[in-house]
Every structure is written in C-alpha cells, then in structure tokens.
C-alpha cells in the first residue's frame, strides 16, 4: 500500500520516476546496534526548497547539524561520504548508530518530528525489522519495508566499495601481519572481488561465500561474536560499553589468563608443529585459584577479546578451505575501533594458512546492511 503512495507522491513532486521522495533512509536493526544511513541531498533546487515540507527540513537539519543524538546516538562523521551521486541526486551519505535498546526513544523522536507525515517508506533490515515492525506502526505510525539481512549486506558492501574513490581506501589489509613492528595498514583494491568470503561480525557471526552480486550462500555462523565479547566482559569486569571493554582489553595481558602451549610443554609442541606462544587453552590458567586471584580486569578483557577473535579466525579459515576461497573480507561492528582484533585476524589468517589467506577489512565496517536497505529503496530489486 505504501508503495502506491510513493508513486503518487512522486507524481505530485514532479520528481524523476526513478527516485523516491525524500528523506532517504536505510536502516539495519541488529541484536545490539541500530545502524542508520541517511542521504542528505545537496543539490536541492530553489523550487524544491520551497516545496520541502517543514518536517523534512527539520529532520535534515537535526541529523546533519549534530554528531550525537540523545545519550547514545552517534554519527560517525569520519565515515561520511561526500558528493555522492545516488539516483541522479548528489549529496552526502551519513552514518548513524545507536543501541537497539534505545529504539523506543528513536521512535518517540520520529513521532515528535511527525516523521509519518512524510509518507515515506522506511526500508529496514536486520532481525529488529521483524521484531519491532509493530512498534514502528503503533508508536510512530511508520510502515517498515522489511528486507533480507544478507541480501542487503552484500549489496551494501559492493556498492560502497564501488563508489568510494577519493579519500582513504574503503578496503584495506595489514602488511606483514606476523611482524608486529612492521605491521601496517595498506589500501587494497577490491577489483574482481569474487569469490570472496564475507564474515560479518555483529552480536553473532555470519559467514557468506559470495560468487557474484546475486549468487551467494550463507556457509555457517557462530554464536561467539561481538555480543559474546561484550557480554563476557560485562560479567567479568563490570564494564558496560563496548568502548570501555576495548579500552580495558588494550591495557591487559591475555597470556596471564590463557594457558599457552609452552605452559604445558615447556616450549613448542614439535610433534604437531604447535609454537610455544600459541594458546592451548583459552582461560586455561583460570582453572587455578591462585592465578584467578592474580589477574586484572584488563587481563580478562584482553583474553576475552583474543579468545573470541581467534575463534572467529579459525572457523573462518576452515570455511575458506572448505569453500576453496582465498580472500576474506571481515565486516561488522565488532571491528569498530578494534584494531587489536583486526590485527589478530590478519595474523591468524596469514600464519595458519602459511600466507595463503588474505584478511581484508572495510572502513564502513557495520553499515553495509543499512546501505543495502537504502539501495533497495532507490532501486528495488
């Protein structure tokens, strides 16, 4: 029903039949975070300016003039894409996130700003699109157009990679991942990206094998993801945010918590080619009471981070082997400001595959689902 309304609106606004009415949003409602992308048109004609309803204007101003919304909403200014042409319109793409548990506040804001009067379609993906669909309707009088999570993710990745031409490269990798002193971030051109393994680390982890834009499969997933890292850190250290947990992890030492191969064998376990520094048992030292008493919260946070990250690395590596794919792209908000994990993943991919596997990362980490949802609004597939 809503789609019909759009067509009539388009007509009314004399817009190109290809482009829907503003505002253009794409939304990804995950288990932990809501990711929102907003396209701010910069080529508004005087005529349009005049016709633009007040509500729309106010939303645009609110979103673009602030970098923080309420207590928890954040606009990732550094990710903003300038002068982007979308559907024949030029403008900036903004990247905004807030915790899923603050969704009611967001809906309240939408209600206050009379969002529903704009008769727009809100394209949304992620589990929350299903879970909160009725809340959108009842609380903000908004109809959601629900989209498949993985379709959106892939569309978003391919799109962002194709449009980012200036500024820092979207895709990058770590050179010399096994030598900490020489390990540096380097741009990577994702031409001929297929086949690729796409690992999305959100609260949980999904691993996709992508053969073309429309040909992909979900290979597997694991429940040990970003949610596990934060959940365990909260329980073990009493912290409450991802940033806090990461900060602690950066100060800690995981080898006090984990039992290493050398702790058991006194050095390398040569019979099986296991280096002494490899973790034999995550949290293995914590079996001992004395050691439990001697570790710091920072150590525990670091061990949690290392455990979760390495596990994702090893499952990914097995999938890459099973699917015979050599390129792995890691995305998802677990990697946000998390260079520690990225370097660990880069290291693990390189070391355990003897250089066969390459770990790639994308700057817009967690926003691809939301971007994909926005694209669905503009070019329904």
């Amino acid at each position: 029903m809503k789609l019909l309304t759009i067509t009539t609106l388009r007509h009314h606004l004399h817009l190109s039949p290809l482009s829907p009415s503003f505002p253009w949003f794409g939304m990804d409602i995950g288990g932990t975070l809501v990711k929102l992308v907003y396209f701010e048109p910069k080529d508004i004609t005087a005529e349009e300016e005049q016709e633009e309803v007040e509500n729309l204007k106010s939303i645009r101003r609110y979103l673009t003039s602030n970098t923080a919304y309420g207590k928890t909403g954040i606009r990732d200014v550094h990710l903003q894409l300038q002068d982007l042409t979308l559907c024949g319109r030029t403008g900036n793409l903004h990247f905004i996130r807030f915790p899923t548990h603050d969704l009611p506040a967001f809906l309240q804001m939408g209600r206050n700003k009379h969002f529903s009067s704009l008769h727009t379609t809100l394209c949304a993906t992620g589990g929350g699109a299903y879970k909160f669909e009725s809340d959108f309707r009842t609380m903000a009088d908004l109809q959601l157009h629900k989209l498949d999570e993985l379709d959106c993710l892939i569309r978003g990745v391919l799109y962002i990679d194709s449009v980012v031409s200036s500024g820092p490269s979207e895709c990058y990798y770590f050179e010399n991942p096994t030598e900490p002193d020489r390990c540096v971030q380097k741009p990577y051109t994702l031409e001929n990206p297929y086949p690729l393994l796409l690992v999305n680390i959100g609260s949980g982890v999904s691993i996709l094998a992508v053969y073309s834009e429309n040909n992909y499969k979900r290979v597997t997933g694991t429940s040990l993801g970003g949610g596990t890292f934060l959940g365990l850190c909260c329980l073990l250290t009493g912290c409450s945010t991802f940033e806090e947990a990461l900060e602690m992890a950066s100060l800690g030492e995981s080898t006090r918590v984990d039992k290493l191969v050398r702790d058991i064998y006194g050095g390398d376990y040569e019979r099986f080619g296991l280096p002494g520094w490899a973790v034999a048992s995550s949290f293995g030292n914590m079996m001992s009471k004395e050691k439990r008493e001697s570790v710091s919260k920072e150590d525990l946070a670091r061990a949690t981070l290392v455990t979760i990250t390495n596990n994702i690395g090893s499952i990914t590596r097995m999938c890459a082997l099973n699917e015979n794919i050599e390129r792995v792209v890691f995305v998802g908000n677990f990697l946000r400001v998390n260079t520690l994990s990225m370097k660990l993943l880069a290291y693990a991919m390189d070391y355990w595959s003897k250089g066969q596997l390459k770990a790639l990362f994308l700057r817009h980490e967690g926003y691809f689902g939301a971007v994909g949802a926005l694209l669905e609004l503009l070019h329904p597939s």
Binding site: G30, S203, T220, F272, S282
Partner: protein
C-alpha cells in the same frame, strides 16, 4: 590365579589409604605376576585419574595348565597416587623391565615421585601417540566400544556394531584445549587442527563467572541452568516472526548476548549452562568443519571434558547433529579414560607384539561403564570416582569375520538387545539369577578334591550376582546387554574363581554313554529308506540338542533314557514346526551335494555323538566335505575342540565312513576361537576363516539355542545356511510364538542364488 596368591589372604596388612573403598587385593590382583607397566597421569588438580596398566600371566588352570596374558588397567584419582605407588612397590616382584612407560600431562610432575618410589626409570611417551594407540586398540578389540548418546531415548546408549575396518576416523580430544586428530592407519595419524576453546575454558571461565571451583560442580550447575536467560537467541533479535525466514527461533544468535545489554544479575546455573552450550557448539562446529574438509564420517569424542559426563555428551551430540544435519554422528567410547594408559602400555610392550593378537574384555574383572544418571545407583557412582578397572585377556588366536557373512558391517551377533527391550531384560536377568544356585552347586561338584572349592564357588556367586545387579541398574555397562553377554559374563566369573570347566566330568560321562549307542544308532539309520533317513537325521540332531544339561527346562528331565532315535523324540513337537523349511531342505538334499559344509557344533554327549555325527556321516557319504567348528575353550557342556578330537578318533575306530573322512582330509576339526556358549560370527579364529575360504564352503549349519537362536537367528550368510534348534526356554518359545520344545528348522538360500527357491516360515 590371583585369588590364590597372598594378596587377599591378609588385606589388613596393606598400607593402603583407608579411604580407598575397594579392597586393594581386588584392585591390584595379579600384581605379583605383572610383567610390565605403564602409567597415564592427568594434569588436573581435582578429581582426576592416574592409570596403571599391567600385563600379567595367569597360571594354574586345573585341567589345561594354560597360560593367559591379561592386561589390567586401573584408574584412580591422582590423590591416591602415592599410596598406590607404595602398594605397587611392596608387591611388585616379577617385573622384567626396569622402565615404566608414562604419559599424560601429569607425567613430568610425578616422574620424580615414581622413580623414587618404584626404583624404576620413567620413560615418557608422547601423549597423543599413546592416545591414538589406545583408541585403535579398543576399537579393534572391544565389541560395542563406541556408542551414540541419546539423552531422551529409551536407552541412553546406542552401541555401534563392530566394523572390522576402523580407519579412517577423526578423534576430537577435549582436554583443556581441543586437538582434532585424523587417524588413517595403525601408525598414521595427524593432528589436523584444534581449538583453544575447550575443557579448560569451561572450567576457567566457569570458575570466574560462578565462583565455583570444581569441574563437576560446574557441570552440575550447568545441568540445572537455562541458557536462554543469558544467550541472545534468534527470536530475541527477530521477535516472533523468524518462522517465515526458515530460522529456528531457539537458535543461539549470540552467546552471552543478553549479559551485554541487560543490566541485571544472572544466575550461576544459567551462566554455566550458557558457557557449556557455547563451548560444546563451538567444538562441534569445528569438528564438523574438519570432518567435512577431510571427508570423514566417523568422529569420536574424548578427553576429560567428555569422560562419561552425560551433560557434555548431550550438548556435543546436539551440536554435531545441528551442524551436519544428522549426517555425522558424534561417537563416544566406553573406555575413553583408559586410552592413554593402554597406548603407553602398548608402546612399552612392543617387543611382545600385542597388536598381532586379538584381545577380549574380561567382564569379570572390568568395572564397566558407570551409571551416568546421578539418580541411578549412587553407590556405583561414588565408587567410580575412586577406582575403575578394565581387564583384557589376550586371546590365543587372532579373530576375524566369517568370510561368508553377507554384510559384516551390519552383522549383529545378538537376536535381542536387552538394553532396549526392558521386558526381555527383566526376564533374562531373573532367569540367570535363578540359575545361579545350580551353577554354584555344579562348580563345587566339579572339583570334589579341592577343599576350598566351596569357598571359591561362594565368591563366584557373589561376584556374578553383583554383576547381575549392576546390569539391572546399568544395562549398558558392558555394551549392549544380551543373552550372550550374560552367558559370557558367567563364564568369565567362573574362570575368575578357578572353575574353568565345571562340566568336564559330566561331559566325559555323557560322552562315554553316548558312544556306546553310536553303532546302534548308525545301524538303525542305515536300515531306513533314503527319505526316512533324511528326516531321522534331522530329528536326531534336534533330539540330541534337547539333551542340554545347561538349559533349565531340560536338566530336570535328564533321566530320560539315552536313545536319540526313539524315546527322546517325544520331546519334539510334530511338524509343521514353529519354523519349518524341512521340505525345501529335503528337496535340496535330492540335488547335487554341497562342496563343503561348515558345522558349528553345540553340546557334548548325545548331541555331538548321536545327533551331529550321523548327520556329518551322511554329508560325507554324499561327497560333501565337512568342517566341524567347536569351541577353543570350555563353556557349559559345549564340546571343545580338544574333546572333539578325542571323540572323533573314538568314533572313527567304530565307523569306516568317519575314519575315511579323517584320513582323506574330508572331515576337518577346527576351533572357533571362542569359549562362549554363543557364537559371534564376527570374531572367529583366523584359521577357521582360512579353511572356510580354501574349501569353498557353500553350506553353514548352526545348531543349538545359544548359537542359532540367541545370536544368529537373523544372521544373513552369502551361502546356504541351516539353523536348527529346539526352544528349551518357555519364555523365549512364547516370544517366538510357540511352545516349550518348539522346533526351529530354518534353511535359507541367499537371494540371487539360483539353485533353490526357499521360503522359510518365520515366527510372527
């Protein structure tokens, strides 16, 4: 045997810790005869086991003077290591070597202690090598070693039929970390991967989260918790509408995901459960990925994380089912905790070539798989925490499949699985308990000159009764419970108390009497017409088999005059029999002779002499070669190979047909390799298998309840087969839809054999 040694004569003199609940003489029996040892010591500070393996020679079996090598494996908590070592030192006199093989993470920790206490040099062996060696050994030698765990099924344990080809397989060893090992051959294995998230993670992280120190307590907590309170499920993210996406709402999307967002207290139980799921799922997933990459379908799980814990077996099983969509089954091992010690021992015993022999689990000496349900038999449970034993007898012969089995991998040597059939289980356990007095009496009577026979018989009674009680509570203790295993256990217990052949005198007496009637019987058969004779021969075998002194219903009536052809036949029911394919058999006998018949014989006396021998004679006369397969060792009144040699010689002296058969090598006596009243066609003497192949055997005859009904009623052979038995047990007769003394005459021709068409009526 050990019981006669000094150990048990004065148990109070030992320095063993009082807290050891089993009398040390029972645990360390035969120690004085031990040839060599190995030890496997875990690293775990709490509730862990050290294992000692010792091989020894048993001696002095009154009749045969046989020497049997036996492996003893003892599992005990590390806390007892010192007292155990003291005990070993005091009683260890006969070791040949000055080296003890040690393995396990704790080996280096206790190296000095062992060397000091025992004065032996400790030789450390690689943990994984020992583990794999042990694993190969149990998989090859112990039927029903591997099982599938099903928490909610009628029987928790589903034992796997023994597949003669054990390679390749994947062993996932979950210790503090996880090692994933691909085993391709006896000495070819490779650690293909692993994970640091293992038992140590559960324990360490669990201890941090719940302030619970012990591994067992953590598992206890986990079994009571609700992981959904801590984990973020798919339905927590998708709300109620995940169904349309083909997702299961109960799937965990993010382990501990709720503790990241919800600001509340979580219960210890819930956190422990969530942790258990997280780790089990992760291990299961990796195991599946490795199995897929290496194209392996058999995946065994072991290590202290698994060791008999139903909680972890359940979550691992669940995880494997989930990730492989049921294509791969998680397999567990009954003797998982012994693998390292067995392997270390085998390493040390390489000069004796232990792998060239077949070994058999001794049910009398092994404590069996303990109950894993906490509400079941708490006494047993407590004991398992202290000592656990496994004993393996070296069989004098290498055992292999009968080459004539249609499909060795699906062959099951048991007709009824009492583990799954509660009603049948109850009956047979009752039956064996009832029969116990008689067995004890006969055992005493068999050794009239030995004063302490009564005492030993009493010990036997206690032991076997205890076994029956254990099996009542834990039918799965020694693999699938069957009539065969109950009979074998009784034989093992009798042997244990030096009653290797309680029937020897009876057998002799009966043989002597039956021999007197042989010529008369043969003569009367020869007077019959061909067709009458064929029937008389079959009735002769059946009637002879009724004379089984071991069967309950018959032993009361054993005073019936001994003439196979006349009086005894009153026992037999009239045709048509319960299972009756006699007409097809008769038709077949009118046709060309068989090339070679393999006859698995049963009892001594009337059965073998007046029933089987005339039948054999007929086959020989037709031009069919005959291979008589009899037990290698004594069991009940079954004729043994040794006895049959003598009997056949004596018959040959009276009967030119038999004499010619022996002379021309057309009648052969071979041993089956078994000492059981039953017949496992997958564990037969290698020589027998060779003879069967060489002679192009095309007919297999199996007689008697134990061999034809209890064990091989459904056995499918690739050649013609004839199963003959009289049901001498009213309960079983009832089960099969007949009456006591119903006759089963089952002649079968495998599908695809053009020679005869055969329809066998089977009991409903």
């Amino acid at each position: 045997m050990a019981e006669c040694s000094g150990i048990d004569s004065n148990p109070s003199s030992h320095t063993m810790d009082k807290s050891i609940t089993l009398p040390p003489d029972e645990i360390f029996r035969n120690l004085e005869n031990a040839k060599r040892f190995a030890i496997d010591i875990g690293t775990w500070e709490l509730k862990t086991f050290g294992i000692i393996a010792a091989s020894d020679k048993l001696y002095e079996i009154s009749v045969q003077e046989e020497v049997t090598a036996r492996l003893h494996f003892i599992k005990f908590e590390n806390a007892y290591i010192e007292t155990c070592l003291d005990f070993i030192k005091d009683h260890l006199v006969n070791t040949e070597t000055k080296v003890i093989k040690a393995t396990g993470g704790g080996a280096h920790k206790f190296k000095e202690l062992i060397e000091r206490k025992l004065g032996l040099k400790v030789d450390k062996e690689d943990e994984m090598t020992c583990l794999i060696k042990g694993c190969n050994f149990v998989l090859k030698n112990i039927p029903h070693e591997a099982f599938v765990y099903a928490k909610h099924a009628d029987s928790e344990f589903r034992f796997q039929t023994t597949n003669p080809d054990i390679f390749p397989y994947l062993l996932v060893n979950i210790g503090s970390g996880v090692s994933i090992v691909k085993v391709e051959a006896e000495d070819k294995f490779e650690r293909i991967g692993g994970s640091s998230i293992g038992g140590g993670t559960f324990w360490g992280l669990g201890a941090l989260l719940t302030k619970t120190k012990r591994f067992d307590e953590l598992l206890q907590l986990a079994s009571k918790g609700q992981h959904t309170n801590v984990d973020m499920l798919v339905k927590d993210i998708y709300g109620g509408s995940y169904g349309c996406l083909g997702l299961t709402g109960d799937l965990i999307a993010s382990s501990f995901g709720k503790s990241a967002t919800a600001d509340k207290e979580f219960s210890k139980e819930d956190m422990a459960k969530s942790l258990l799921h997280m780790i089990s799922n992760d291990i299961g997933q990796l195991a599946c990925l490795y199995a897929k990459l290496h194209n392996l379908s058999r995946v065994y799980f072991g290590g202290f994380f698994i060791r008999g814990h139903p909680v972890t077996m359940h979550t691992i099983t669940y995880s494997i089912n989930f990730f492989t969509k049921g294509e791969v089954q998680a397999l567990f091992l009954r003797h998982e905790g012994y693998l390292g010690a067995i392997g270390a021992f085998l390493k040390g015993a390489e000069e004796d070539n232990p792998n060239q022999y077949s070994w058999g689990e001794n049910y009398a000496g092994s404590s069996g798989l303990m109950s894993v349900s906490p509400d079941m038999n708490p006494m047993q449970r407590a004991r398992s925490g202290t000592f656990d034993m496994l004993e393996m007898d070296r069989l004098e012969r290498q055992l292999v499949n009968l080459p004539l089995l249609q499909d060795p991998s699906s062959y099951i040597p048991d007709t009824v699985d009492l583990t799954e059939d509660a009603l049948a289980r109850e009956y047979w356990l009752y039956c064996f308990e009832e029969a116990l007095d008689g067995v004890v009496k006969r055992a005493v009577a068999s050794q009239p000159d030995m004063l302490e026979a009564a005492l030993r018989a009493e010990k036997f009674r206690q032991k076997y009764r205890h076994k029956l009680q254990t099996l009542r509570h834990q039918p799965f203790a020694y693999g699938s419970l069957t009539v065969r295993s109950l009979l074998d256990t009784r034989e093992h217990c009798l042997n244990e108390f030096n009653f290797p052949d309680p029937y020897s005198k009876i057998k002799q007496r009966e043989n002597d009497v039956a021999l007197k009637y042989y010529q008369k019987a043969v003569k009367s058969l020869e007077e019959l017409s061909w067709e009458e004779r064929q029937f008389a021969l079959v009735r002769g075998v059946l009637a002879g088999n009724v004379f089984d002194w071991g069967a309950k219903a018959v032993s009361d009536k054993c005073l019936i005059p001994l003439c196979a052809q006349t009086d005894c036949v009153v026992f037999l029911s009239e045709r048509p029999w319960l299972v009756d394919s006699y007409n097809q058999w008769l038709e077949r006998m009118k046709g060309p002779p068989h090339k070679c018949a393999l006859f698995f014989v049963d009892n001594s006396g009337v059965d073998i002499i007046l029933g089987v021998m005339p039948f054999v004679r007929e086959l020989l006369s037709r031009g069919t070669e005959v291979v008589l397969a009899s037990n290698s060792g004594p069991a009940l009144n079954d004729v043994t190979n040794g006895e049959l040699q003598i009997l056949t010689e004596r018959i040959a002296a009276m009967d030119p047909v038999i004499q010619a058969g022996l002379r021309d090598d057309r009648l052969m006596l071979v041993q089956s390799g078994s000492s059981s009243p039953c017949l496992d066609l997958s564990r037969l003497d290698k020589v027998l298998a060779m003879v069967v192949r060489e002679r192009q055997t095309d007919l297999v005859i199996i007689e008697g309840m134990g061999r034809a009904i209890h064990t091989n009623y459904y056995a499918m052979l690739s050649c013609e087969s004839l199963k003959m038995a009289v049901i001498k047990n009213s309960w079983l007769a009832d089960r099969l839809g007949g009456k006591l003394f119903s006759v089963v005459f089952k002649y079968e021709v495998p599908a695809g054999k053009p020679s005869q068409d055969c329809e066998t009526s089977t009991p409903s």
